[in-house]
């Protein structure tokens, strides 16, 4: 009997000692306490729990540092300058930080762990990016694989942006997807609509966001978006305008054209829209309406596919159509939105005609 009690006692004591040791280690060694992060020399100061990475902490506090890989060190987008408290330079940061950047204290914020107070420097524009809670007000099918989604803003209820910029949509956990991600979409609504925003979203196979939008999202659902991002917007000049888009690249131009119509802008505008066949065309009625409202605006869809019965519009590759129908490029600005391949090819066509690169603005799908 006494042996049983002694055994229980010894096992209990050893277990207790180890448990206490682990608890103490967890509390005093693994615990990094709170840390203050000074951003841009005091422009903003955050107090956060230590232990996590800098990118996560900043995003949680509403500072949307860009990232395409979810903080794994694969994309290199989340760079920022850390002059104090960054800790040792890690091998995972090596590939993204050049020697020059390193001497300038540039770090990869997703790899930096918060262990002590820090001083960091981020681009000013990031402060202008806000997060908005909204509610889906309508979902409309534009073609077989493209949907128009309108979101009414709830909190904040108003947004200020330049037509042509894009927002990041937060995709929540759904189905068997158990991690939330962000995906970027151009705003197709004009800037004078400040309480409701619109996106044109095309279904992509294996797409985490587009599958959510096309198969799960319903009117009335709550969504979170952040932005605005990007520097693709109509410049305020009197130059002629060439717009070129393909597929869902039409989005920013819809907003721009609605804006132009509202403001009575009469700059001569040619909008070239490339598609494969008639099933890919949408907003034809809207474009016809705009053509009537703005006599100087022309919508020129071009079909590159071979099978288009009854089509009497332009045919061929978009680059050829632009080439053919643009006699000169005097006092002209070009705006392009679509795949990198299409944009590069169109830039070549335009520069060959004599348009300088500083007059060509684009939003590459990247």
């Amino acid at each position: 009997m006494i042996e049983v009690l002694v055994s229980m006692g010894v096992v209990g004591v050893i277990g207790a000692v180890l448990a206490v040791a682990l608890e103490l280690a967890d509390r005093y060694i693994a615990n990094y306490g709170e840390a203050t992060i000074d951003i841009n020399d005091g422009a903003k100061e955050l107090t956060v729990e230590g232990g996590g990475n800098l990118l996560g902490a900043l995003v949680a506090e509403g500072i949307f540092v860009p990232s395409a890989c979810g903080g794994r060190g694969s994309c290199g987008y989340c760079k920022c300058r850390i002059t104090e408290g960054g800790g040792p330079f890690l091998p995972t940061e090596q590939s993204w930080i050049t020697t020059e950047e390193k001497s300038n204290d540039m770090r990869l914020s997703c790899q930096v762990k918060i262990r002590e107070d820090m001083r960091i420097y981020i681009p000013e524009e990031l402060f202008l990016i806000k997060e908005y809670q909204g509610m889906v007000s309508s979902i409309r099918d534009l073609t077989g694989d493209i949907k128009e989604v309108r979101i009414k803003l709830v909190e904040p209820a108003e947004i200020e942006f330049q037509t042509g910029q894009y927002m990041q949509l937060t995709v929540p956990e759904y189905g068997d997807v158990d991690e939330s991600v962000y995906r970027a979409y151009s705003l197709s609504s004009p800037e004078y609509e400040r309480n409701e925003v619109e996106f044109i979203i095309r279904y992509v196979p294996e797409g985490i966001c587009t599958t959510w939008v096309h198969q799960y999202l319903k009117v009335g659902d709550e969504v979170t978006i952040n932005g605005p991002h990007g520097d693709f917007y109509l410049r305020d000049t009197d130059a002629k305008i060439i717009m070129i888009a393909g597929g869902s690249g039409l989005a920013p131009f819809k907003g721009m054209l609605l804006n132009m119509a509202k403001q009575g802008i009469t700059r001569p505008t040619n909008f070239f829209f490339g598609a494969v066949n008639q099933d890919n065309l949408y907003y034809r009625d809207l474009m016809a309406e705009l053509e009537e409202k703005m006599p100087n605006f022309k919508f020129i869809p071009a079909l590159s596919g071979e099978d288009n019965p009854g089509w009497d519009g332009e045919t061929g590759l978009i680059t050829d159509v632009v080439d053919r129908l643009t006699p000169d490029v005097d006092n002209t600005e070009a705006y392009l939105c679509g795949s990198p391949g299409m944009i590069d090819a169109c830039i070549k066509v335009l520069t060959k005609k004599g348009l300088t690169e500083d007059k060509i603005y684009y939003d590459k799908f990247s």
Binding site: A68, C69, G70, R72, G73, S74, C75, G76, T92, S95, W96, E173, G175, D176, V177, D178, E179, R183, A184, Y185, R202, V204, P205, E206, G207, I208, T211, G246, G247, S248, G274, A275, V276, S304, G305, E306, L317, I318, G338, S339, P340, G341, M342, A345, F365, S366
Partner: protein
């Protein structure tokens, strides 16, 4: 079987929602090391390296770029359609690099067989010899790829 930390990270990212909607395993029950072993062995038996397969996939796929979504005939042997989408995604393996979301559909005009793959799947085949699990959207068996791209065995 236990995994090395690197393969464990890659395997976790390959689950549905990690990077792609349905994940890279499809309905295949094999774990990552087994899939890699099986596919590497398949390549050896075909006498072709997985790098060679990936290079052809990229060469023919890129040649279809100029169609901007419309079919392009390449080398009089293949019909290629290239579909571009906004954004870049990372590789499940924990190394630097993000890949454009481009989808290529290539049809061999002689046999009529076609394959569909993405920029990321080209990278995973080239760098890791990973062809994905059966049932995954961009899965292609090495033998099918060798057949469609008419790749000759190396000496």
């Amino acid at each position: 079987m236990k995994l090395t930390p690197e393969l464990q990270k890659a395997s976790d990212k390959m689950k549905p929602g990690g990077i792609a909607r349905e994940g890279f395993f499809g309905h295949d029950e094999r774990d990552l090391p087994t899939l890699l072993d099986d596919h590497h062995a398949a390549c050896r038996r075909l006498g072709v390296s997985w790098e060679a397969i990936a290079k052809e996939m990229r060469r023919v796929g890129r040649a279809g770029d100029e169609g901007f979504g419309a079919p392009v005939i390449v080398d009089d042997k293949w019909e290629v359609i290239v579909d571009e989408n906004r954004g870049k995604i990372p590789c499940p393996w924990p190394h630097p690099g993000v890949y454009q979301k481009t989808v290529y559909t290539v049809k061999n005009l002689r046999s009529g067989k076609s394959v569909r793959y993405s920029e990321l799947s080209i990278h995973m085949i080239y760098a890791h010899g990973f062809f994905q699990g059966a049932g995954s959207s961009f899965y292609n068996d090495p033998a099918v790829l060798v057949d469609v791209f008419e790749i000759q065995p190396e000496e």
